[in-house]
């Protein structure tokens, strides 16, 4: 079973460029076309937040249009959305009313759905704090998560926008996730949590957390500059965009980071006489 993760799309109404520079709409179109052109397409798609740039209704209107090639496949390829700090959870829900899982719990914006005919559970945690860039999992959310995990032993993958780890990129760490220790203890206590996938960082980063690999996904558009100096400036860079493919074989997850762009090749290693010299 193959789960595709797209993240940090930052769509702006009217196809306006993010920060005056990044044509995020075109980047998303390219990423979706790339994903649907995979020789083995995914079985589900998860979008881990910052779907739009300002959370406006107009932003989501354009997002809906841009996602159409993906959503039109959803009779066999379901697609799950998750809010990030640039999103407005209520606007997101209203823009995608047919995505009922976004309203599945009345009090909390989290969800749990089954994938692959029940082989796997996707738990979407909404880590946003309205009006803030940083994220959190408050006690109430952790209680909900604990109930979810305690009541169903199906292997689970947790998706969330804010990663539960520090990266050394100081300006991103300043807007990281609060209460991560409690979340880690909880994860550790449920051995059927198999993977944690996140967005927010606009880079592929991974670490061991609560006994599983927790990672962040590249943005479909712009990437955060890799600068590990304390107090490094907050900047982005047009490194190649990407997305990730998480493969579940029934025992473990394996992740492929996909780079989106035009590249030379593929070339053959071998000809009829063997390896090409």
């Amino acid at each position: 079973m193959l789960i595709a993760q797209l993240s940090d799309l930052h769509i702006k109404a009217g196809r306006r460029k993010a920060y005056g520079v990044v044509d995020t709409a075109a980047h998303l179109e390219t990423a979706i076309a790339h994903l649907l052109s995979q020789p083995v397409p995914p079985d589900a798609v998860v979008l881990t937040g910052d779907l739009v740039d300002h959370g406006s209704r107009e932003d989501y209107g354009l997002l809906r249009q841009l996602l159409k090639p993906l959503l039109d496949q959803s009779s066999t390829l379901p697609c799950y959305l998750l809010a990030g700090n640039h999103d407005e959870t209520n606007e997101l829900r209203e823009a995608f009313p047919e995505h009922g899982y976004l309203r599945s719990t009345t009090a909390l914006p989290h969800y749990a759905v089954t994938l692959g005919g029940g082989a796997l559970r996707l738990i979407g945690l909404n880590t946003t704090i309205p009006g803030q860039s940083a994220g959190q999992l408050n006690a109430e959310s952790l209680t909900w998560l604990n109930e979810q995990l305690s009541s169903d032993p199906t292997p689970a993958i947790i998706a969330m926008h804010h990663p539960p780890f520090a990266t050394g990129i100081s300006h991103m760490d300043e807007i990281g996730l609060a209460n991560r220790e409690a979340f880690e203890a909880l994860t550790l206590s449920h051995s059927h949590v198999k993977r944690i996938i996140c967005g927010h960082l606009h880079r592929a980063i991974e670490t061991l957390f609560g006994g599983v690999i927790a990672s962040s996904c590249p943005s479909t558009a712009h990437q955060v500059v890799l600068d590990l100096r304390a107090g490094a400036p907050d900047q982005f860079i047009m490194e190649p965009p990407g997305y990730q493919l998480h493969r579940w074989d029934g025992v473990r997850f394996l992740t492929h980071t996909v780079v989106v762009g035009k590249f030379n090749g593929p070339y053959r290693f071998r000809n009829t006489r063997g390896l090409i010299d």
Binding site: G61, D72, S74, T76, G117
Partner: protein, 337 residues
């Protein structure tokens, strides 16, 4: 194609009931509250101009859109309004094909099967069966970009039908094809829908497609169903001028204080002395098996000519004075004061 194949493919179609389904996009009301029942195994054509609400209706049935609050969608009496599309067991076919470009034909058809419980060998045989049904066995290993539009749409149909959906939803599936291919595939789709017994909803702006395929047609305009009925009912007894005009050509003239409404084929050439109307041929289009004439009617309250269709042999020439008589048994033709 063997009948055994067809029978194995048959899936029980669902009865679909829409109750007060409306859809607003911000301030724009794409669909007024709509009630609609589609019988199990029936093919319903949703026909209308662009923006009439037909695609929105289809997408609500599919689960790609939700109706506004208060609307419900039921499959076989079960409320599926809040059931996500991937749980509704529907097959979808789009104008754009929506195939995976880097999978071959067989892989594309097999893709939809992984949501069902098919073992690898069963999936292979099921996919092969679908290719045979669509008469594209020879293309199994071909890449999608090596196929013509008509072949792609056959693959899309095979893929949609492979998991035995309860409902097949087709959104302008032939609109991207040239006229000849459209005719061929239309016949093919008709054969499929009749043999499978699946419930099908077919969105089109093409009245001849709707006529040929629909057990019933719902003609839509401005977000409402203007009329729903069999193709014959729609054609011979249009509910209003919009339907009459959209489903073929409808003439409407006022003559001696009476209004006459009739189809181009509902009038005969006669000697002017025994004619209902006389007039002058102002345009003549030779169309092979028939000739289409524009005739300016003497004494009509408007100058707009009527359109009539007559046999091509010995047909009138441009500027001829002719006599026309409404066929007495024309059910449609009616005069009102």
């Amino acid at each position: 194609m063997s009948t055994a194949l067809t029978q194995k493919t048959a899936a029980a179609g669902a009865q679909i009931t829409l109750t007060r389904c409306a859809k607003s996009f911000r301030t724009h009301k794409a669909l007024q509250p709509l009630d609609l029942q589609i019988n199990a195994g029936e093919t319903l054509a949703l026909l209308g101009p662009s923006g009439c609400g037909k695609t929105t209706t289809l997408r609500i049935i599919a689960g790609l859109e939700t109706p506004d609050d208060g609307g419900t969608v039921m499959y076989d009496g079960v409320d599926v309004t809040n059931v996500p599309i991937e749980r509704r067991n529907v097959g979808m076919v789009f104008q754009s094909y929506a195939l995976f470009p880097n999978m071959n034909v067989l892989e594309n058809v097999k893709y939809g099967l992984r949501v069902r419980d098919y073992s690898a060998s069963n999936a292979n045989s099921r996919a092969s069966e679908m290719l045979a049904m669509m008469r594209i066995e020879d293309l199994a290993q071909r890449r999608i970009n090596e196929l013509s539009g008509g072949q792609r749409q056959r693959v899309a149909l095979a893929r949609a039908l492979a998991p035995q959906p309860r409902v097949l939803l087709l959104d302008e599936p032939l609109a991207a094809l040239d006229a000849r291919l459209r005719d061929v595939l239309r016949v093919e789709i008709d054969r499929l829908l009749r043999s499978l017994g699946i419930t099908a909803i077919y969105v089109t702006h093409d009245q001849s497609e709707a006529m040929a395929l629909g057990d019933r047609i719902a003609v839509m305009n401005n977000g409402v169903i203007a009329q729903i009925g069999t193709p014959e009912e729609i054609y011979f007894h249009p509910a209003d001028a919009f339907v009459g005009d959209f489903v073929g050509t409808m003439n409407s003239i006022e003559h001696n204080g009476k209004r006459f409404t009739f189809r181009p084929e509902d009038i005969d050439l006669v000697d002017p002395t025994s004619a209902t109307f006389t007039g002058t041929v102002t345009q003549r289009l030779f169309l092979g098996d028939h000739v289409q004439l524009a005739v300016s009617i003497d004494g009509a309250s408007s100058d707009a000519p009527v359109t009539i269709r007559v046999r091509a042999r010995n047909s009138p020439s441009l500027n001829d004075k002719i006599g026309l008589k409404l066929q007495p048994l024309t059910r449609l033709a009616r005069d009102t004061h």
